[in-house]
């Protein structure tokens, strides 16, 4: 019976996140528009975009292979799997033991590599330079990400997200200095990995600067819709992984429907504020040159290192 409830929570979490991810993107766009003195298209615009794209005809480049058509599904599927693993609104879900934080990073790498390969499959200049930029930047961001995650795992003596969340929920108000540094490092990685402004501009099609957009340039119709949705899911995921590591308050530990709903509401509240911060960062910072990005990623890594070292120096 408990396992059935577990699976119900699992499905609830997946459906909730998949449905709410475009909302997150819409809210981000709205806040950015407000900050930049523009009129926003409304918080529901991403849903309308997805609806429109799904109904459009889907074109594929003449010389592309099966990899090009297959990749959007893999990217979306991998994100769903990741959503199933991370404690977003409930902890200890049935699929959570399938992967720990390291495997979660691996799972996101699966999605990334498919995207990169699909971009190279188009055989265009834009595809391949988007590909090598993406691989480069993620190669530099991955040590920073792992350093941040290691700090959390060393503290919890476990790499399982369930355990990390569980532990920090028990010691609710103890603040570890190492975790502060880890959180900063994670923030850097979040910006890098989600193609946010100091690294990449999600709203541009200016050829020389784009990374993520260069890779999805040849996609259209339902493929593009899936990719857009997957990117929104990725932002949602990174933010909620951050919550699970650093602000795990409110994630439902007990399996009851009301606690789930409360947890979902709390996640939305946290996201509400996190998005405001993100929009502020994106408005205040300018996009960096590509060759400044490594410095950015390495700064993130150094914060992660400081987190690790302070963990050992100050004791856990």
């Amino acid at each position: 019976m408990t396992s059935l409830i577990g699976w119900r929570d699992q499905c609830f979490q997946i459906l909730f996140v998949v449905a709410a991810a475009p909302l997150l993107a819409g809210w981000l766009q709205t806040v950015r528009a407000l900050l930049q003195n523009r009129r926003s298209a409304g918080i529901l615009q991403p849903y309308r975009d997805l609806f429109r794209l799904f109904h459009k005809e889907t074109l594929i480049p003449e010389q592309s292979s099966w990899l090009f058509q297959f990749s959007p599904y893999v990217m979306f599927g991998a994100k769903i799997m990741a959503v199933a693993i991370v404690p977003i609104i409930a902890n200890g879900l049935p699929l959570a033991s399938a992967a720990d934080v390291i495997a979660l990073v691996g799972l996101l790498a699966v999605a990334r590599i498919f995207q990169v390969l699909a971009a190279m499959d188009t055989g265009t200049a834009f595809g391949s330079y988007g590909a090598h930029r993406e691989m480069l930047i993620s190669a530099l961001a991955e040590p920073a990400l792992l350093a941040a995650l290691f700090t959390a795992s060393l503290l919890a003596r476990s790499t399982s997200l369930v355990q990390i969340v569980h532990l920090s929920q028990i010691q609710l108000f103890s603040i570890h200095p190492s975790m502060v540094f880890a959180a900063i490092a994670f923030g850097f990685v979040l910006l890098v990995e989600n193609a946010r402004i100091p690294v990449d501009n999600p709203a541009t099609h200016l050829e020389l600067t784009m990374i993520h957009e260069a890779m999805v340039l040849e996609y259209s119709g339902r493929h593009l819709a899936l990719l857009e949705w997957a990117a929104q899911l990725k932002l949602f995921l990174y933010m909620t992984i951050g919550f699970a590591l650093f602000l795990p308050w409110g994630i439902a530990a007990k399996p009851s429907l009301t606690s789930l709903v409360i947890a979902a509401g709390l996640v939305l509240v946290k996201l509400f504020f996190a998005v405001v911060v993100l929009a502020l960062i994106e408005t205040l910072l300018a996009k960096k040159r590509l060759f400044r990005v490594p410095e950015f990623a390495i700064t993130g890594f150094l914060f992660g290192v400081i987190g690790l070292l302070s963990h050992f120096m100050l004791g856990s």
Partner: protein, 663 residues
């Protein structure tokens, strides 16, 4: 047959496997027969190795002794779990490589086939003998045989200057290594290699710290030369591309692990307790080699050179795992040491499968297109779809993507690193997690390199070389075998870890990792960390299927192929607008500040500037050493100037010296 004969059977079979060497010499036999029989014999022998290896992994050690050339000097052999594991690795790679070779040498001439089939079985058999050797004499003879036979194999594809240089360099470094090993064994046997040469006797005799350290250093030199550790790696990126692909696969997938075996056998089993700095030294050397190699692998433009540097990187990772295990073992944290050791051995196994798969795949590419230079290739996924699919599995495994095998060992290694706080105190506790971040950087850049490998050669549009046909059935079968095991080892990592428990028990005073269920990895406890690749694979497959069905059901309209858009620049788009391999890694080049040199070529009125990325160790290490050696040689050569009177004087002086000392 009782199991005691197992070892003898392998030894007889290893002699029988040399039969192709005789076979090719028979002029009456048609070439087709020679080729099929020759390689199929090796295939059968490798199958036997797999069976024996699996059997030996869980069996007590067996010993055998065969009378040698002198009364005291016998050929002694042992089959224990450690050699069993490496036999298994060798058998798997040899099986696939030999199958592939049937297709690879299909169009070769009689004389070329002869050149291959003479040394090829000797190479395989020599490796088997190295793995089974139980005394220094047998080990050194087999080791030398392995080096010599592989040198000849490098020269099979042609004897142009580059290949000859590669073979010469390989031979030179192999012999420097062999010399170091010879001295190490002399020290281990207290100067009497013949009567004290047995490994078991060596393991039981005590050594002073000075001798132990000297042996450690010498074996690091000897096996490090074979592993391609910095700075003795220079032969690796030269020899691998020069050799035919099945041989490259064997060299990378089986011969490099043989050196790992040597390290484990001598520096671990014979010298169990060492100084505290041994582990950190291994770890540091491994990490610096891996970082150097992965960067240079990402910069290469030749498919096999890229893979060669990547092999060096993998060996670095394995040495990191062994060093970590040693660090834990030094503090008597046996179960943690077992975890790190298992991670290293698992990596050996994985490397054997995915790296030989990629080497064989590039062999098929060479066959189909006539080149391995990535700046000429592209779009092979359409002309060779099956090869492309199998190679894709290989690159996923190499890039460390779950749920394939490369990820499982990486995961275990990172878990072992995260247990560093269990160390009592000191610098290591804080440094080890940073080393783990270094490992992550290595694997991330490795993913960059291998995406470049696949993306440029197999995806996009053909640059200039076009594949004429799909790879032959033998080649595809061998690659399918390797790809299948890349998946199986990844999905059932628990089985692998369990079967390695006898090795950890052998090397770490009977300690081993807790029993794993087949589908899961929970090295310490389920709370600490768990990874269920089967569920993982099922979960992803299911979500992809659901998404696909839903999207197809709601919005499924037929796709239309159209010209690429490419931001409107598509009007005149030639295949040359795609990234060149050098262009792909240019940002990496710039960020890490690697120096490159260009050579101006004037060909038919056109200036071309091919970019070369010279190995910094050539200029900084090899050339100075070469100059010093030449200088010494010139000094010595002054003694020889051809006058008979001075030669008589030398003999006279020698005689007097001898008379003074040995009356």
């Amino acid at each position: 047959m009782n199991s005691g004969d197992c070892l003898l059977w392998v030894l007889y079979a290893s002699l029988l496997a040399l039969l192709p060497t005789v076979l090719v010499a028979i002029p009456a036999l048609p070439i087709r027969w020679k080729r099929s029989l020759g390689f199929l014999l090796t295939v059968a022998f490798c199958l036997l190795l797999i069976v024996v290896g699996i059997h030996a992994l869980a069996s007590p050690a067996l010993h055998a002794s065969i009378p040698g050339p002198l009364t005291d000097l016998a050929w002694q052999f042992t089959l224990d779990p450690l050699s069993g594991f490496f036999l298994l690795v060798l058998g798997s790679v040899g099986f696939a490589a030999s199958l592939h070779a049937i297709g690879y040498f299909y169009h070769g001439s009689q004389s070329k086939l002869k050149q291959v089939l003479l040394p090829y079985p000797v190479f395989v058999t020599a490796m088997v003998w190295v793995l089974l050797a139980a005394n220094a004499y047998t080990f050194l003879v087999a080791w030398e045989l392995m080096a010599l036979s592989s040198t000849f194999l490098i020269l099979v594809e042609g004897q142009d200057q580059r290949r000859q240089q590669a073979a010469y360099l390989y031979l030179l470094i192999a012999h420097i290594g062999a010399l170091a090993l010879f001295v190490a064994f002399a020290l281990l046997s207290h100067g009497d290699l013949i009567s004290n040469g047995n490994f078991q006797r060596m393991a039981q005799s005590p050594y002073s710290p000075v001798v132990a350290n000297a042996v450690f250093g010498l074996t690091l030199l000897g096996f490090g030369a074979k592993l391609g550790l910095l700075p003795l790696h220079a032969w690796l990126p030269e020899a691998h591309p020069a050799a035919p692909s099945p041989v490259s696969a064997l060299m990378s997938g089986a011969m490099l692990p043989v050196a790992v075996y040597g390290l484990l056998r001598i520096d671990w089993q014979i010298l169990p307790a060492g100084a505290g700095w041994w582990g950190p030294l291994w770890l540091g050397l491994g990490l610096s080699s891996a970082l150097f190699a992965v960067l240079y692998s990402a910069l290469q433009t030749d498919m096999k050179r890229l893979l060669a540097y990547s092999s060096m990187e993998n060996m670095g990772l394995i040495l990191i795992a062994l060093g970590l295990s040693r660090i834990f073992a030094e503090q008597a944290l046996w179960s943690l040491a077992a975890l790190a050791l298992v991670a290293g051995l698992f990596q050996v196994l994985n490397h054997a499968f995915f790296k030989s798969l990629l080497f064989l795949g590039s062999g098929s590419v060479l066959h189909a297109t006539g080149t391995l230079e990535m700046s000429h290739l592209g779009g092979l996924i359409r002309s060779m779809p099956q090869t492309a699919f199998l190679v894709l599995i290989g690159i996923f495994a190499l890039a460390g993507l779950p749920p394939l095998n490369g990820f499982a060992s990486e995961w275990l290694l990172l878990q072992a690193f995260l247990l560093a706080p269990s160390l009592p105190s000191g610098m290591l506790r804080a440094i080890l997690p940073l080393a783990a971040a270094g490992v992550v950087l290595v694997t991330a850049v490795a993913a960059f390199a291998i995406v470049k490998f696949y993306g440029i050669a197999f995806l996009g549009r053909a640059r200039s070389a076009v594949a004429k046909q799909e790879a032959g059935i033998w080649e595809r079968a061998s690659m399918a075998f390797l790809a299948l095991f890349c998946v199986l080892l990844g999905v059932f990592p628990g089985r692998v870890v369990d079967s390695l428990s006898h090795i950890t028990a052998l090397l770490l005073h009977g300690s081993q990792i807790a029993h794993q269920s087949a589908l899961a990895l929970t090295p310490i406890s389920a709370q600490r960390a768990s990874y269920l690749p089967g569920v993982f694979l099922l979960g992803i497959a299911l979500s992809i299927a659901v998404v696909f069905v839903l999207v197809w059901w709601r919005f499924g309209r037929s796709l239309r192929r159209a010209p690429v858009w490419s931001c409107g620049f598509a009007a005149d788009y030639s295949a040359q607008t795609q990234d060149s391999p050098t262009g792909f890694s240019q940002p990496l080049l710039r960020i890490f500040g690697v120096s490159l040199s260009t050579l101006r070529n004037r060909q038919g009125g056109r200036n071309t500037l091919p970019v070369q990325i010279p190995d910094p160790f050539w200029k900084g290490f090899y050339l100075p050493w070469g100059r010093v050696t030449l200088w010494i040689a010139e000094g010595i050569s002054r003694l020889q100037h051809g006058r008979i009177t001075s030669y008589l004087l030398y003999s006279f002086l020698t005689l007097i010296v001898l008379l003074v000392f040995f009356r």
